[in-house]
């Protein structure tokens, strides 16, 4: 006769061991999320804003002429970028260091994603929505902004530059625009 009790206990022991292991993994992941959320200011985008991806280029905020960094009359710095197959428009944006910057992204075609290396800027860019991130850049220099959501065959060549300049070198033109050129 097979000792069912012994088999039962052995299975139970294995199951418990794995349950403890999985529980540990879950706690590690939750811990990582809490750590990133508190110390690195990583949080889900707070706004939900719709925009028609088919007519983005025709009029309004995301027309070609309106893209890039601009400073409002009240001093608010806003950078608007289009993520499209397979480039960012504009390919280089200027932002000031140590000042709140609002980054706004939209896509006319497929899902893209952006992250600015070495910062907490990281979001998906979903057609139909505006992805908005508020941040403050502390390190000056050229930061790499790659597309991090597979968007097609040209995905790995989809890169842009975020140029963080010291506040005194950040000089908007008469129209409030600041460009890399």
């Amino acid at each position: 006769m097979i000792d069912h009790g012994a088999t039962e206990r052995r299975i139970l022991k294995t199951e418990l061991r794995w349950a403890v292991f999985v529980g540990f993994l879950v706690l590690m992941i939750l811990g990582a999320i809490v750590y990133a959320g508190i110390s690195m200011h990583i949080n889900p985008p707070s706004n939900r804003e719709f925009i028609d991806p088919k007519t983005l280029h025709l009029s309004g905020e995301f027309t070609e002429a309106n893209l890039g960094t601009s400073v409002d009359t009240d001093g608010q710095v806003t950078t608007r970028v289009i993520a499209t197959q397979f480039s960012f428009v504009p390919q280089c944006v200027v932002v000031p260091a140590n000042r709140t910057v609002t980054l706004r992204f939209a896509s006319p075609d497929v899902i893209h994603g952006i992250l600015v290396s070495g910062t907490n800027v990281n979001t998906m860019v979903v057609p139909g929505y505006v992805s908005q991130v508020h941040t403050e850049f502390t390190r000056t220099g050229d930061l790499l902004m790659p597309c991090h959501e597979y968007c097609g065959f040209g995905h790995s060549q989809m890169l842009a530059t975020v140029r963080v300049v010291p506040p005194e070198q950040f000089r908007p033109g008469p129209d409030g625009k600041v460009t890399c050129g």
Binding site: H4, A19, G23, V26, L30, I33, V34, G37, I38, H41, N43, P45, S46, N47, R48, E49, K54, T55, H57, L58, S59, G60, E61, T63, E64, A65, N66, D72, Q76, T78, I82, T84, Q85, F86, S87, V89, Q91, T102, R104, P108, D109, Q132, H134, G152, F153, G154, S156, Q157, M158, L159, A160
Partner: protein, 277 residues
């Protein structure tokens, strides 16, 4: 009753089912507390929110709103393309009459674009091999003034939108025939072949083939380059580079052409030249 009997098994498992449910439920509760109470509390300062609003937004009761209101912009898009691929336009293309298109083609287009859409005048593009969307986009841009050509602008301006669509659909029918045509006269330059097929990450140059081959999955209006006339291709890349041509939505081709050297433009045009006839 035997060991392993479903009923006895069920009774035996009962305690474990309860424990497992409690564990899963507990993790859910802990996750909810972290995500909806703890993190909003630590992060609310960034968006200048009070605790209650931050919690309501995290839970999803209050809609998140832009912390800074966006000014209403009235920027206009001219002379960039006015074509938007909304259902109305796709309907016009789907319902276009290719017989009407064939008549217009026979009267107007064949003189330059050749019989069956294969142009022997090397400055003019062959239309065979292109999708109707690609042709419609360019005809509409000539009509709206987003793209300018001494001959095409007046022709396109004379035609109505349904007529443009019928011509596009007529030439779009040659698409499948043309893809099988000819072989490619590959130049020996490996570098150009690599640029066309793989792009160059260091210069943020996507491969031409990532959009310009049939079914690549790029924008719907992307033309196919295989078999296109060398002079035409090189002239278009240069026009994009200098900004003489600007009807590419979101600078897709202008940004690429600006990074290409003169030799690369010639090399790529040669690479895509097909032997069609």
């Amino acid at each position: 009753m035997n060991v392993g009997d479903p009923i006895e098994q069920s009774a035996l498992d009962r305690r474990w089912r309860l424990w497992a449910s409690a564990a899963v439920g507990g993790i859910l509760v802990v996750g909810a507390v972290i995500g909806m109470l703890v993190l909003p509390n630590f992060q609310r300062e960034n968006a200048a929110l009070d605790l209650w609003t931050a919690i309501c937004r995290a839970v999803g009761i209050t809609e998140g709103s832009p912390a800074y209101r966006q000014p209403i912009t009235t920027a206009q898009a001219l002379p960039v393309s006015q074509v938007a691929w909304d259902p109305d336009v796709l309907d016009i293309l789907a319902n276009a009459n290719p017989q009407q298109g064939a008549q217009i083609a026979a009267q107007v287009c064949v003189a330059c674009h050749g019989e069956n859409g294969v142009s022997s005048v090397l400055e003019y593009p062959s239309l065979a091999g292109q999708s109707s969307a690609a042709i419609y986009k360019q005809l509409s841009d000539y009509r709206s003034g987003a793209r300018v050509h001494e001959l095409m602008t007046p022709y396109a301006a004379q035609l109505t939108v349904p007529q443009l669509a019928s011509v596009s659909v007529y030439y779009g029918r040659f698409a499948q025939q043309a893809t099988g045509l000819g072989g490619r006269d590959l130049p020996g330059d490996d570098y150009i072949v690599k640029l066309a097929r793989e792009g160059d990450s260091a210069r943020a140059l996507p491969a031409c083939d990532s959009c310009h081959v049939p079914g690549a999955g790029g924008p719907i209006e992307t033309p196919v380059l295989t078999g296109q006339n060398l002079q035409y291709l090189a002239a278009q890349l240069r026009a994009y580079k200098t900004g003489d041509r600007q009807n590419d939505v979101y600078r897709r081709m202008r940004d690429i052409s600006e990074k290409l050297t003169e030799q690369e433009i010639d090399g790529l045009a040669r690479y895509y030249r097909g032997v069609l006839f």
